[in-house]
Symmetry: C2
Subunit: 300 residues, 2 copies
């Protein structure tokens, strides 16, 4: 691809993603708020810009990977932001997980400037970012999607164009709802089963074979059984994501009774100082309620 790519936001996810784009030969212009991370990539051949505006001035396609809606608004539409430097006919690909409402606002502004825009949040965490095996949920126009496809193919394994602007963020919100509720489900099941005397590993084994089977139980098996809650995916990020889902539910008039409660579970985990642990630590809340640590005292 001859297009020049800019990349803004070199955090845990963004840096390996940018690196993957460089390794297949993209000449990359990068920007990060704290300069050291950009300098690291400069040593590997990236051009470091002084602001999001400068990135946009030097790129055909600008990718952003930022923590939350306020950061995306600031970087894209703020002072010295992408919109100040981006040329007509360019494309902005926001891969952050943010509010679909904010995404639609930015899409409207981009439209006025003749700039294409895609929302393309990912799932798969740091390992997926490093290995280029992310799931990417893309919202936006078909032509823009086709234009960004070579980039997505470098970064991800499952790339689905789910709908118009904002649809990618909506799909990501749905994804985070299901993951959080499944963690809660497995936690309640394991604590009941274990306190009733059954070995939690056997519960996971037998449940995996049937309708109760799920990826959380597979991927987080050792997190649950060993109480090893090194992230993984941090509680505080999942809490942020359910905040997005619940804000969207207010926007669209959808009641999400269980999502609302599980969001409170994540709030409680943050309150007890577990915000930086893996989201499977929801288990510890259910354990606390039962005064029982799974696997202890199992009779079998």
């Amino acid at each position: 691809m001859a297009e020049k790519v800019g990349f803004i936001g070199l955090g845990i996810m963004g840096k390996p993603m940018a690196r993957n784009l460089m390794q297949i030969g993209h000449e990359l212009v990068v920007y990060n708020r704290s300069r050291e991370k950009a300098d690291e990539l400069a040593e590997e051949g990236a051009v470091v810009a002084g602001s999001p505006r400068e990135v946009a001035e030097q790129s055909d396609v600008v990718v952003t990977m930022l923590p939350d809606s306020p950061e995306v608004r600031e970087v894209v539409a703020g002072e010295d932001g992408v919109f100040e430097g981006i040329g007509e006919g360019s494309l902005l690909v926001d891969m952050s997980t943010i509010s679909p409402v904010v995404t639609k606002e930015l899409a409207a502004e981009a439209g006025k400037k003749g700039v294409g825009i895609l929302d393309a949040p990912v799932s798969g965490g740091e390992p997926g970012a490093v290995e280029g095996t992310l799931s990417i949920m893309v919202g936006g126009g078909e032509e823009d999607f086709e234009r960004a496809k070579p980039i997505f193919d470098v970064l991800g394994e499952t790339v689905v164009h789910v709908g118009e602007a904002g649809a990618g963020q909506v799909a990501k919100a749905c994804n985070q709802i299901v993951v959080a509720l499944v963690i809660e489900a497995v936690s309640e099941a394991l604590v009941l089963g274990s306190k009733a005397g059954v070995n939690p590993a056997k519960i996971i084994d037998v449940l995996s074979g049937g309708l109760a089977g799920n990826k959380v139980m597979e991927a987080k098996r050792d997190f649950f059984l060993e109480h090893d809650f090194d992230p993984g995916f941090r509680v505080e990020l999942h809490h942020k994501d359910l905040g997005i889902a619940l804000a969207a539910s207010r926007e669209y008039g959808v009641a999400l009774p269980i999502t609302a409660i599980v969001s409170q579970m994540l709030e409680a985990l943050k309150a007890k100082g577990s915000g930086d642990r893996d989201h499977s630590a929801i288990l510890t809340l259910i354990e606390d309620l039962a005064q029982h640590r799974i696997g202890e005292g199992a009779s079998y």
Copy 2:
């Protein structure tokens, strides 16, 4: 196997299970409260007994497959029940889904009589019963498990000895917790996503590839997308099963906040006359709350 097998309870699950046992050459003594179902199997070669006691008198291994705890108590420990006819050294295999507390009571009584007992509830529904592909979660002693294994191997595909008496019921309760909560999770996600304008089929597609992936979304895909709620597994049975889980949670001192609420969802479905629909009809409750039927008005 030379052992003579008795089978009590020829309902939707029991009849095909009994038939599978006959087809591999077991000489079967059967009993059912309403006689017609027993007569059907008599035409295929089964011996019809006049009471659970008579079944036990003529069998080395007695299998029961009944709706709920009271029926199992009555058939096993009641007048003309199994315990009145069963000989020392015989084995009782209860494959019903009942309270683990009741299971342990019966196990204690069986022990006094020198009778082996296993709790072996199943998952997999009518298709699993017909095809002999059930998942069987077995609680009880190792020797008894080995003795019943040839029977389990005819009836099921995944057979796991999860622990001592009652452990099978505990595992089944865990299974039903996870299944119910995953249905709730998928329902909330689909209603939010669809009302926000995203095609629910695409949501299932993209979620299936990642950590949100689960068997419910796979097996119930058409139930959700087509609003086809022919069971499947009936709401009223799942409601009964969560009642068992919640009773066990009181017994063992485990708080199950989300299980409790989803059990109320099933209660609400029964109240609105959907007790005989498939449990995936939880979707319709979330749709009602949002005044939105998924798939309608999706912009993409």
